[in-house]
């Protein structure tokens, strides 16, 4: 006899809570994702490959992934710095700064998209200055990068902040007592403690950026092969009622997302084994 599927419990509400949970999960998430996979299955793996294996699709997938990686790397460095500054230092305006970190979570992506475009367009506040330096941001890959940095900004800070709060000063004091310079302590004692949380935040920011649509399409210019992101290709195929092609690209993106999710979980397992908690 194996373990029972559900342990007997006197707690009320089993049927109701299980029913609501599984019904809503199925209707909202599982069946729609199943419909995508079923569409892919009926279209056939060969056909999916032929759809995805075109220059325009590869260019879009590669662009989305590459720029998301750069944006997440920027956010990794800036996010750790921000977490450190917000937890360890006291300065006027710290609370406002702390709240501002969450703005990219709260601000609708379309709003972020048009605001960033207005800012970086050739006649915008930043765009006109950068333009004189010969640096075009809007309607180039730089613009996409800025938008992806914006949407991924909170992830690393918010995963690292609680860890910084929990670091015991004694550890740093011990390091200092043993003669380590402040830089040496930060590099060899503090950073390794922050690494697992920072990597989790990095992977979350990456996953978010790969699928991002709203904040990017306004500033991107959407030139095929150059500034066309993968989610936009899906939208274009749908507007042409080309459901098979849309599903093919959607499945490719879903696979990338699942791979990232797997990486996030592996990081967490690894860090739990290494430092005992996440």
């Amino acid at each position: 006899m194996g373990k029972p599927l559900i342990h007997r419990s006197p707690m009320p509400g089993l049927g109701l809570s299980m029913g609501i949970t599984l019904t809503m999960l199925s209707i909202v998430v599982l069946l729609p994702i199943g419909a995508l996979l079923a569409k892919g299955a009926s279209f056939g793996i060969g056909n999916i490959w032929d759809t995805v294996n075109r220059d325009r699709v590869w260019a879009a997938l590669f662009l989305s992934f590459r720029l998301s990686l750069f944006a997440a790397l920027f956010n990794l460095v800036f996010g750790v710095l921000l977490a450190w500054v917000l937890v360890r230092y006291r300065f006027p305006g710290r609370r406002i700064l702390d709240a501002a970190v969450d703005l990219p979570f709260a601000l609708p992506t379309a709003v972020a998209g048009i605001a960033l475009t207005a800012l970086h367009a050739p006649n915008g506040a930043f765009g006109s200055i950068l333009g004189q330096l010969g640096w075009r941001v809007a309607y180039t890959q730089w613009g996409i990068l800025i938008a992806l940095i914006f949407v991924g900004l909170p992830f690393v800070t918010r995963t690292v902040q609680p860890v910084v709060e929990e670091i015991e000063r004694e550890v740093e004091e011990a390091s200092a007592t043993l003669g380590a310079s402040r830089f040496h302590t930060l590099r060899h004692v503090v950073l390794p403690m922050l690494a697992p949380a920072a990597l989790t935040g990095f992977a979350l920011a990456l996953a978010r950026a790969v699928g991002e649509y709203g904040s990017v399409i306004f500033i991107a210019g959407n030139i095929p092969l150059v500034t066309e992101i993968a989610p936009l290709l899906i939208v274009i195929q749908l507007e042409e009622f080309n459901y098979d092609a849309a599903a093919s690209i959607g499945i490719a993106m879903l696979l990338i997302s699942f791979a990232l999710l797997l990486v996030i979980n592996l990081i967490q397992v690894w860090s739990r084994r290494r430092i005992g908690h996440v």
Partner: protein
């Protein structure tokens, strides 16, 4: 050289030169100053500037032009639609979150970890792919969608589809706030109420709810902000029919593409104000009820 420091040195000739005390676990003032400057500048450029631009562009032709652009029929219909969607999707989301958290934390069953992963799944799916999934599931070309359209109950390019897309992208918000809080609180209080003969509903209302209300509010807040602002998933399922299925974010896109900058940014400013109120409430909650929020007990 002041008299005081000269006196001090005379009193303790071996003391090092007088300077501000710095603990071994602090960075030097210069390093600290540089780090704070980088943080402040970075956030001003990345977050502050876009925020400012939304309002300056909205008011580029004065208050009356902004107000006028928000009072026409299409704008009002977009605002009404967005409020309707949030009014349907957010309570459904809260009910799901409470049910899922109750099921996961009050019972022991196999596959719990899988269930939690599935609930979190929407966070790692692109909103556009989410919209695509709903189109493929309920669109006129699918078996279910065809039947529903034949019975005059269209889902895609209509309100139910937008609500479904919104539910998809906000799905984990409430549940993932409640689950850690309810795990930490354990079952002892509910079990005590049970032995005293309380009914299930009464246990929930008088024992569980007071313990989770702030976490619930926090989850609802986040889920509402996302519901009113969702663009990618809604863009795919809505069909963007002006005056019918164009939500506020979709209307912003249409106005912007028609070069109606003031109108686009005025509507954007409304959503930005909502985002700022959300952040304000969130910060207040975190300050006052940090001990009852899940976000502060992870890691």
């Amino acid at each position: 050289m002041s008299d005081a420091s000269a006196l001090a040195r005379a009193a303790a000739p071996d003391a090092p030169r007088a300077r501000a005390f710095r603990a071994a676990t602090d960075e030097s003032p210069l390093v600290r100053w540089i780090l704070v400057a980088v943080a402040v500048t970075g956030l001003l450029v990345l977050v502050g500037a876009p925020l400012f631009v939304v309002f300056s562009e909205a008011l580029a032709q004065g208050w009356s032009a902004a107000a006028k652009s928000l009072s026409n029929r299409d704008a009002r219909s977009a605002i009404r639609l967005t409020l309707t969607i949030a009014a349907i999707a957010v309570p459904l989301n809260a009910i799901f979150g409470i049910a899922a958290a109750w099921f996961i934390t009050k019972f022991d069953f196999r596959g719990k970890a899988v269930l939690i992963t599935l609930i979190d799944l929407p966070f790692s799916v692109s909103p556009v792919v989410a919209g695509l999934c709903i189109v493929l599931m309920f669109g006129a070309n699918s078996a279910i969608g065809g039947w529903l359209v034949a019975h005059d109950l269209p889902i895609v390019f209509a309100l139910p589809g937008i609500v479904l897309a919104t539910l998809f992208v906000t799905f984990p918000f409430v549940a993932r706030e409640l689950i850690p809080v309810m795990i930490e609180q354990g079952r002892a209080e509910e079990e005590a109420a049970l032995t005293l003969g309380a009914s299930g509903w009464r246990i929930f209302r008088t024992v569980t709810l007071p313990n989770i209300r702030w976490a619930l509010f926090y989850g609802v807040l986040l889920s509402n902000a996302r519901a009113m602002g969702e663009f990618g998933a809604v863009a795919v399922v809505s069909g963007k029919i002006r005056g019918q299925t164009a939500t506020m974010p979709i209307t912003i896109e249409m106005l912007y593409n028609e070069y109606l900058s003031v109108a686009a940014f005025s509507m954007a400013a409304e959503l930005t104000l909502l985002a700022l109120v959300t952040l304000l409430l969130k910060a207040a909650l975190e300050m006052r009820h940090a001990d009852q929020l899940a976000a502060f007990r992870r890691h």
